[in-house]
């Protein structure tokens, strides 16, 4: 064992990135591997709620207390990822008064600032709430961008010397003499940033300790060393609306149930969710009734949702875990607490700890505990600094400057760019060339796209989660080819084409669940733009060679301007 322990962290979600940052800041050597993009698993498939703890204030007060503590920390260290919208627990006439009171006292017991407001007051805040809402409890819920948060954690870890490998799937745990000594990974492309078309390969990464932070996938990693980690993946649907019907997080105040939350998120509102156990975290049905239930049930709180436009739906898989002796039948009964499974203590296999369960809001706290645990293994006494040091983008930063003028951007594009970039605005937006808008729906400029490409290689989905480009109303209909072209300054055409196709397919995946009304019209337009105008569905670059000589080569050998000259010579003003 060398003087500085090398820790391999498996999993590029919030937990893994949080652990990597923490360990790197404490001076350890860290390699983080992730099978897809950062946030590929559960983190990129959540509703974006920064919990106040209110949701757990009755059922799980320990979690509720952790939530409000971390809520305050994240507002501080991740200010550019957080929008403090506030939240309401609203009570309909048929909802239990007893539970409403329990919620209120539970919040007080957990130190969650909570205040009862009348139905009128609630509607004054959120005019689209149903007329018959009785009253509500106001709590400090917020919205958080999970993509930006994880990218910032990974960037911070890198600044502290960590190696981050995305698109690198763990294919084996290296076990020698009854001890985990590393991992074997299959790189999708060359190590480092992902570049389509470059050859990947297998790499054995020796490590002094391995942390399995793969959430719903933890059992698969465990299997590689014969460990039994019984994660109980549970799926939940989330439906994205094209606008923010509410600017406050709206929770329904009742014990537990499906379709009971609306989270305003950037330009959209996200409806959630369901809770249904699945066998396989990567292969489960995505069904119409789930989407319909979101709309129908949440329309009871916000009637306009019934006729509103949704732009896509997605499913996430919770990494639920409970000790084998509990045996809950219903996944909603399984605790949201997290478990640190030291496989030395648990299975007599030293060298690895798994972390399972837990919640996004408390990712940093989980990272701290794991980092404490790992440091303890090596007798390292180093303080955790992740609660105090702001993430890249959330450093001291004045939003009062006139960024629009300074960077030549129009409002609201400039404002939105700066909100996304936070304290990185200067380094990203100060460019020599013109900075046109690439994604009009989300107001993303060339400078932001180029910054994201520098951070993520040729992967346009990685660019997307960093910038929100192609995540608005048109779902990439108008901007995906532009994003592809932005790649071309750095990468060859075949690489660009592959990345472009991948982005288009990813955008279609979620949009399929929103195909009626306005969004079906949008999808039909996108199809026409991509297939008719661009002919990307029958692109000869991807297919059989074309015999060009068999097609019309023009009326004359000299091409077309002869005709237009005739028009002009004719005294005409018009030539098409």
């Amino acid at each position: 064992m060398g003087p500085t322990p090398h820790i391999a962290v498996i999993g590029g979600g919030s937990t893994g990135a949080g652990i990597a940052r923490d360990l790197a800041m404490r001076g350890l050597d860290v390699t983080l591997v992730e099978q897809g993009n950062l946030t590929h698993g559960t983190t990129g498939r959540m509703h974006g709620l920064l919990h106040s703890g209110g949701r757990y204030a009755v059922s799980d007060q320990a979690s509720a207390t952790e939530c409000i503590e971390e809520n305050r920390v994240l507002r501080d260290i991740a200010s550019h990822c957080v929008e403090m919208t506030g939240g309401l627990f609203v009570k309909r006439p048929e909802d239990s008064e007893e539970y409403f009171q329990k919620k209120l006292s539970g919040c007080e017991e957990c130190g969650i600032p909570a205040e009862v407001i009348s139905g009128e007051e609630a509607r004054a805040m959120e005019p689209h709430l149903a007329k018959d809402i009785d009253k509500a409890i106001s709590v400090p819920d917020g919205a958080i961008d999970p993509f930006r948060l994880v990218v910032a954690n990974a960037a911070s870890a890198q600044e502290h010397g960590a190696r981050i490998e995305t698109h690198s799937k763990v294919t084996d745990l290296l076990v020698e003499s009854g001890e985990v000594v590393g991992i074997e990974v299959e790189h999708d492309s060359s190590p480092g940033k992902r570049v389509h078309g470059t050859e990947g390969g297998t790499e054995q990464i020796r490590a002094d300790y391995v942390v399995n932070a793969t959430g719903a996938w933890a059992g698969r990693i465990g299997d590689m060393a014969g460990l039994d980690i019984e994660v109980r993946p549970s799926k939940g649907v989330m439906t994205i609306m094209n606008i923010r019907q509410v600017d406050t997080v709206i929770n329904r105040c009742r014990p537990k149930g499906d379709a009971d939350i609306v989270v305003p998120h950037e330009t959209t509102a996200i409806l959630g969710t369901t809770d249904e156990e699945v066998e396989d975290p990567e292969d489960y049905p995505e069904e119409q009734w789930e989407v319909d239930m979101m709309i129908d049930t949440l329309s009871e709180l916000i009637p306009m949702l019934d006729e509103a436009r949704t732009i896509r739906s997605f499913w996430g898989v919770r990494p639920l875990y409970e000790p084998p002796d509990v045996g809950s039948d219903d996944p909603t009964d399984i605790t949201r607490d997290f478990f640190l499974l030291d496989h030395d203590e648990r299975d007599d296999l030293p060298g690895m700890t798994s972390i399972v369960g837990g919640k996004f809001t408390t990712y940093r706290m989980m990272g701290e505990q794991i980092a404490d645990h790992v440091c303890g293994k090596f007798g390292i006494d180093a303080d955790c600094r992740t609660a105090d040091e702001p993430l890249p983008g959330s450093e001291d930063f004045s939003v009062l400057r006139d960024y629009m003028d300074e960077f030549g951007l129009r409002s609201p594009i400039g404002r939105r760019s700066v909100e996304r970039l936070g304290s990185r605005a200067d380094e990203v937006l100060k460019t020599d060339g013109p900075n046109p808008t690439v994604c009009a729906c989300e107001g993303v400029t060339r400078a932001e796209i180029q910054d994201a490409i520098r951070g993520s290689g040729s992967d346009l989905n990685a660019v997307r989660i960093r910038t929100r480009a192609s995540m608005g109303n048109c779902q990439g209909g108008f901007c995906s080819h532009r994003m592809a072209s932005e790649l071309h300054s750095e990468y060859d055409e075949p690489v660009v084409r592959e990345a472009w196709d991948e982005l288009l397919q990813e955008r279609w995946k979620g949009q399929r669940h929103a195909l009626w009304g306005e969004q079906l019209s949008q999808a039909a337009l996108n199809y026409a733009l991509h297939a008719t105008t661009q002919n990307r569905d029958q692109d000869p670059a991807d297919g059989e060679p074309v015999d060009f000589s068999a097609f019309d080569s023009g009326r004359g050998q000299t091409g077309g301007s002869v005709d237009s000259a005739d028009v002009a010579a004719d005294g005409g003003t018009d030539g098409y």
Partner: protein, 424 residues
């Protein structure tokens, strides 16, 4: 008192305009009403007839030869291949600034995405860009214009195997346009040929643009620009640029807002106006009267419902994109006359999992008899004096087949002509 005409066409896109033009040329008293901006502003302006079969075979060299083998439900089969040819002749006559009528063979044109696509008619402004023309090509993009990245388009075109060398260069457009300037701003500047400042000297815009491009030429015989070369005077602008550069100049068709699409719309409205039709735009048909026959429709104008009556009606309101076919979570419908739109009852059968899969929704629209009369669920005509044309029709996937403009022109022609004949 209703506003009367012999033929009333509802819809101002390619189908409606062709339909009204055919009816007017047949001698009928025609009125065309349209509501929204037509989808031509979103279309490339190319007039495709058939580029691929429904099975995906292609690119087809001769679209007409493939028509008799199309499924019987295809709109081309309803009107027949002879009518398709006649309709294209009408188009050629009405829009003389288009080319391609010298042959039945499809042309391949570069797209702004860097691919090539088969089409039957193309604006004169695009003709020097044909992909079967073997002359070496320089593509010129504008630094601020994210819809056309010339080096990327050139590299992609090269990957399609085009029989010529192609390079892309990017320039800063002369003049002081903002980074997010609309294509119409570029077009206007070139139309007016206003003077712009170049290194402290005032130079007409066309000349200034050519000066930026000239040093980049490496012996190429033609130069392609994104389709921004003027709205009112595109021919003169191309010629001016061509004279300055000593090469042929062409435009690559673009996505929305598409100048070639808008120019085509203008040309057809002008032809229709010349043919003596009455035209009312900007107001929706909101209601109608009639059981087996449509007696009259109501057009909403400034809050009032104005009755319009005709002997024959043509429904050319478009498909999902143009909102002539609409849907909700429960089903698909035609909003003006509530004509039956056959569709799967399960919403999750409307689409496929693959982006370019065989999506059913792409073929949704009204079904008709051979006379283009919409059919109800029991396959009887909905109204004896109503015909449908263009994208409101079902039974074909225009995006996959590259047949959108051709179907609109052919069915518009047939519906308009037959409506006029029956109105006598």
């Amino acid at each position: 008192m209703a506003i009367e005409s012999e033929v009333l066409v509802i819809g101002g896109g390619l189908g409606g305009l062709t339909s009204a033009l055919a009816a007017a040329r047949e001698g009928a008293d025609v009125r065309l009403v349209s509501y929204k901006q037509s989808t031509l502003r979103q279309a490339s302006g190319l007039v495709d007839v058939l580029g691929y079969t429904p099975d995906g075979d292609g690119p087809l060299t001769n679209p007409y030869e493939a028509i008799p083998s199309l499924p019987e439900t295809h709109p081309y089969r309803k009107v027949g291949v002879g009518t398709v040819r006649d309709a294209l002749s009408l188009f050629d006559d009405a829009v003389p600034t288009y080319e391609g009528e010298h042959t039945e063979t499809n042309a391949l044109l570069p797209t702004h995405g860097g691919s090539i696509k088969p089409t039957a008619r193309y604006p004169a402004g695009a003709s020097a860009g044909l992909a079967s023309d073997t002359r070496d090509t320089l593509l010129v993009g504008i630094e601020e214009m994210v819809d056309f990245d010339a080096p990327h388009v050139a590299a992609h075109l090269d990957a399609t195997g085009v029989p010529f060398d192609v390079r892309g260069e990017t320039i800063r457009f002369p003049g002081d346009l903002r980074a997010d300037a609309k294509v119409t701003r570029y077009a206007k500047l070139l139309d007016t040929n206003s003077e712009v400042a170049v290194r402290g000297r005032m130079v007409p815009a066309r000349e200034a643009l050519a000066q930026r491009v000239n040093p980049l030429l490496e012996g190429e015989e033609r130069v392609g620009f994104p389709a921004i070369l003027g709205d009112d005077n595109p021919g003169a602008i191309r010629d001016a640029l061509g004279d300055h550069l000593g090469v042929d100049v062409f435009e690559v068709p673009m996505g929305p807002p598409s100048l070639p699409g808008l120019r085509l719309e203008d040309a057809l409205f002008a032809a229709l106006d010349e043919a003596g039709a009455s035209i009312e735009t900007g107001n929706p048909v909101v209601d109608f009267e009639g059981e087996d026959r449509i007696e009259q429709v109501y057009i909403e104008k400034n809050g009032a419902k104005i009755p319009n009556s005709a002997d024959q009606y043509v429904l050319a309101t478009g498909g999902f994109v143009g909102k002539g076919v609409e849907s909700d979570r429960d089903g698909v419908y035609e909003p003006v006359f509530d004509c039956h739109v056959p569709h799967a009852t399960d919403r999750y059968d409307w689409f496929e999992g693959e982006l370019f899969g065989d999506h059913e929704f792409a073929r949704y629209g009204v079904a008709t008899d051979d006379d283009l009369r919409p059919l109800d669920a029991s396959e009887h005509s909905e109204f004896e004096n109503l015909r449908a044309a263009g994208s409101v029709l079902g039974g074909y996937d225009f995006a996959a087949e590259k047949s959108g403009s051709g179907v609109s022109i052919a069915t518009g022609y047939a519906a308009g002509q037959r409506a006029a004949q029956e109105a006598r």
